[in-house]
Each structure stands twice: as C-alpha cells, then as structure tokens.
Subunit: 236 residues, 2 copies
DNA sequence: TAGATTGTTAATCGATTAACAATC
DNA sequence: TAGATTGTTAATCGATTAACAATC
C-alpha cells in the first residue's frame, strides 16, 4: 500500500463539513442524486473546488450522472469521523455557556455536553438544566471517567488560558474556544475559535471600506486600495 | 495621489482584529511598547506576517524600538473602522439569541443591539430584557429608522434565508449568521458565519485522523495521508 | 451514440515567510 | 558606534479553478 503524500488543505475539511451538513438538511426531501454544480451552488463554492475536495479522499460520483446523496453522506460521515457521538465538557455558565447547553443544535449535529464546570463557587454542586455543576478541581477526573473528547471554553477572557491548561492537562486534544484569547497549547491539541467580535470586526472593515471608498478618503497619506480588496470569506 | 493596487488578504483583516483586541486587553497593564516578535507570539502568528499585515496600511513602528501600543491601537481602530459604535438588529430569540443580547462582550467590543425581532407571534410586542420585540414585517422600517448597520441571524436553519432576504431588502450590508445555512445574498452584502457545528466537525476530523493514523486504517483502498495534513487553523 | 458530468491535470492566483537592508 | 527591530523584497509554499479526457 502506497503512502499518499498529498497534503489536504484545512479549508477542504471545513467545506467537507459544509457539504455534509447541507446534504443532511435536504435528505428528507427525497432527492437522491446531486451534481457538483448543484451542490457547489448551494454551498457557495466553485464546482471544481468541490470535486477536488472530494478527490482527496476517493471517487464518490458517477460520471455523467452525479453523486448519490445517501452514499455521499455516508462517505463524508466516515471521512470527518462523524460516525459516533462525541462527548464534550463545558466550562463557564454565563449567558453563552447556558445557551450552549440548552441549544439543540449540538445534539442534532452529533455532539453532546456530558459535564459542565463553573468557576463561580456559588454554582458548583448545584443542578443547572440536567447537569450537576462541578468545580475546576474535579475536571481531570470527570473528563477521563466519562470519556470526554472535546472541551468548550465559555468563560471570561481573563480565565480562558487557565481553562485551556486544565483541558490539556486532562488529556483533551480538541478545544472550542468562545473567548477572544488566542490560546497557547501543545501542537497536538487542536483549537477552534468561535469569537464573534473578530467576525464583527471584519464586517466593520468591509462596511467602512465602502464608506471610505465613497468619500475617497486617504489613509496616512496612502490612498487605500479599497476597491481591490477581496472579501470572499467562506469561513465561520 | 497614486492608486495603490495591492490586494489585501482577507486573513490580514482577521489578524488585524486579533492584534487590536489583544492590545486592548493589555493596555491597562502600562506596557507602552511592543515588538513584532512579542505581539506575534501572543497572537499565534509569524512575526514577518504581522509586519506584512501592518505594511498594507502604513508604517506604524520605529526601527530598533518596536510599536508604541496606544498609537498602534489608534491606527488599528481607524483601519478597521472601530471608531464609532455599530448598531445591530437581532432576529431570533431562542437560547442563542437571548444569550447574545444579554452578553456584555458585544458592548465591550463597540457593538450594540438596537432592535430585536422574533418569528414567534407570542413574543412579538412583549418586552424581553431591555428590548421591545418586533415582528419581521416591521424590520425594514425599524432598521432604517434607527440607523442599524448589521443584522444578526439567530433563527432555525429553515428560516435563515428568509431573514437574510429581509435584511438585504432593508438595505443592510453586513450579516452575522449563527445558523448553518450558507446564505445567498448580493455581492455587496457581506456575511460572516458563526457556525459552531462546522467548527466542531473540523475538530472531529483532526481527532479521528489521529485515531486512524494510530491504527493505520486505510480508507476506500486508499492509504490516508493523515500524517501530512496541516491543521494550523487560525480562523474563528 | 449523444449528452452529461466526473476526476484530474496544469496553470493561475494568492498568502506566507526567510532574509536583509534601512534606520532608530 | 553597537544592538535591535522595522519595513520590504523575493522566494516559497499552498489553494483555487479552468479545461478537458475519461466514462457513465
């Protein structure tokens, strides 16, 4: 068996998830075949891009026909590793943390909160929603006992790195971070940032770019190349 | 005045925001100068990258010294367009929507919810938090009356495109979308995706990649190039 | 067979970064 | 002046996409 040395772009994995979630949302409609053109259009990507993305992992279509939706779904599920439920630990029971454990979108996606922790002494030991609230001291033990795979950080910025350190010490390899802090973790620990403020800031730039362009304002004596800035963000 | 034709990478704008938010978080500590090396390390980027990012907009540092933090903050604020508060409209008062209007991180960032809408007839007309809840019919009028610039979508996937259409019709040029739906909007409308499931899916891929690599499992008769996959996600 | 659509190549396009002259 | 760090160039690296042969 030959070792395939091709590197897979990070963006490809993100798009694979987008294809998967879109197909999941239309599977009940009874359509059984989709072309790269149709699927690409629905997910805002180039059709060649989509075919290339899939080609890193195999040949899933039929020439002249398209892709069988149930089969493609199954293949994407295997590629992404979505064939079993993944358990998560949450730290932080502020507004965002509370919303996360109440929202149904995680369960629908195959993810489940299994333990919650809070830094507020008042909350520890209480029951919030269906969860008993633990303190950070109990984190490592609880995580290993329950087979947790992902840690979710929903605490204030000041405490985010501490929580990340605790997750790393407990052996977690995946972190979803709702704070704005860029975390310092070992290379084998993967972090994803769900930082709303940064997303808004990039929107603000695009908007004020328009304002500037309209007024032909120059910045620091340098005429801004506003009209040439590409803004095709595809990424969450 | 010469028109500068250089294209600015989308990723540069994202990083500019990250630099800005980091510097904001340490400004009270009384440090007044930072080098590209220090700032880059704190924000998980390459120092050359950081200097290049800034160089698209001007010369903000002093050779041999570094960057004056208050001055750099001010420059970044102007570049990103963060010198005035931006008003937002929220549609959707589920768990996420509620958390968003309660959370303080938006206000701290210079963003403010000014109107909220819900699709639930029951909620319309009521007062939730400090907001009176409007129906979608009133969206266009309310948005233009109040000078709203951004629309935030926090409804179920099924309704997300409808809400986006309403935002576009009302003239908004910036949308923050918490649903999983890839929106279809005109070219001059900017969308950012805060889609947690997709982020988790990319984590899952990285994790199960490790599992596969350990077991040397092949996929579809093709040996997976797992060990060579780069996973340096920087993006929210 | 004719029409359609995939899988893949190769060219293009874009982003990152090492290296160093400029200069404080 | 010696040491430090920026700003910028040019090379490298990586990702996107047009085009088309393969093939259903």
């Amino acid at each position: 068996m030959q070792l395939n040395e091709t590197k897979i772009p990070q963006a490809t994995i993100l798009r694979l998830s987008i294809y998967y979630r879109y197909l999941q949302s239309i599977i009940s409609q009874g359509i059984d075949v989709v072309s790269s053109n149709e699927l690409a259009q629905q997910t805002n990507v180039n059709p060649a891009q989509l075919r290339k993305d899939l080609s890193y992992f195999g040949k899933f279509g039929v020439r002249g026909v398209g892709y069988d939706i149930p089969k493609l779904l199954n293949n994407l599920k295997n590629i992404l590793g979505l064939n079993k439920e993944r358990k998560m630990a949450l730290v932080g029971l502020g507004h965002i943390g509370l919303a996360l454990i109440q929202d149904k979108c995680f369960e629908r996606g195959g993810y489940k909160f299994d333990v919650v922790f809070d830094l507020e002494e008042n909350n520890v030991g209480k029951n919030i929603e269906i969860f008993q609230v633990y303190s950070l001291d109990e984190l490592s033990e609880a995580i290993n006992e329950k087979g947790i795979e992902f840690g979710v950080i929903a605490v204030e910025n000041e405490m985010a790195q501490n929580v990340a350190d605790a997750f790393v010490k407990a052996g977690l390899k995946g972190i979803l971070n709702f704070s704005s802090v860029r975390l310092n973790v070992p290379d084998d620990v993967h972090v994803r940032y769900a930082d709303f403020t940064v997303l808004l800031d990039t929107l603000t730039f695009s908007i004020s770019k328009r304002e500037f362009a309209e007024k032909e304002i120059s910045f620091k004596g340098l005429s801004m190349p506003y009209s040439r800035i590409s803004t095709a963000w595809g990424v969450a």
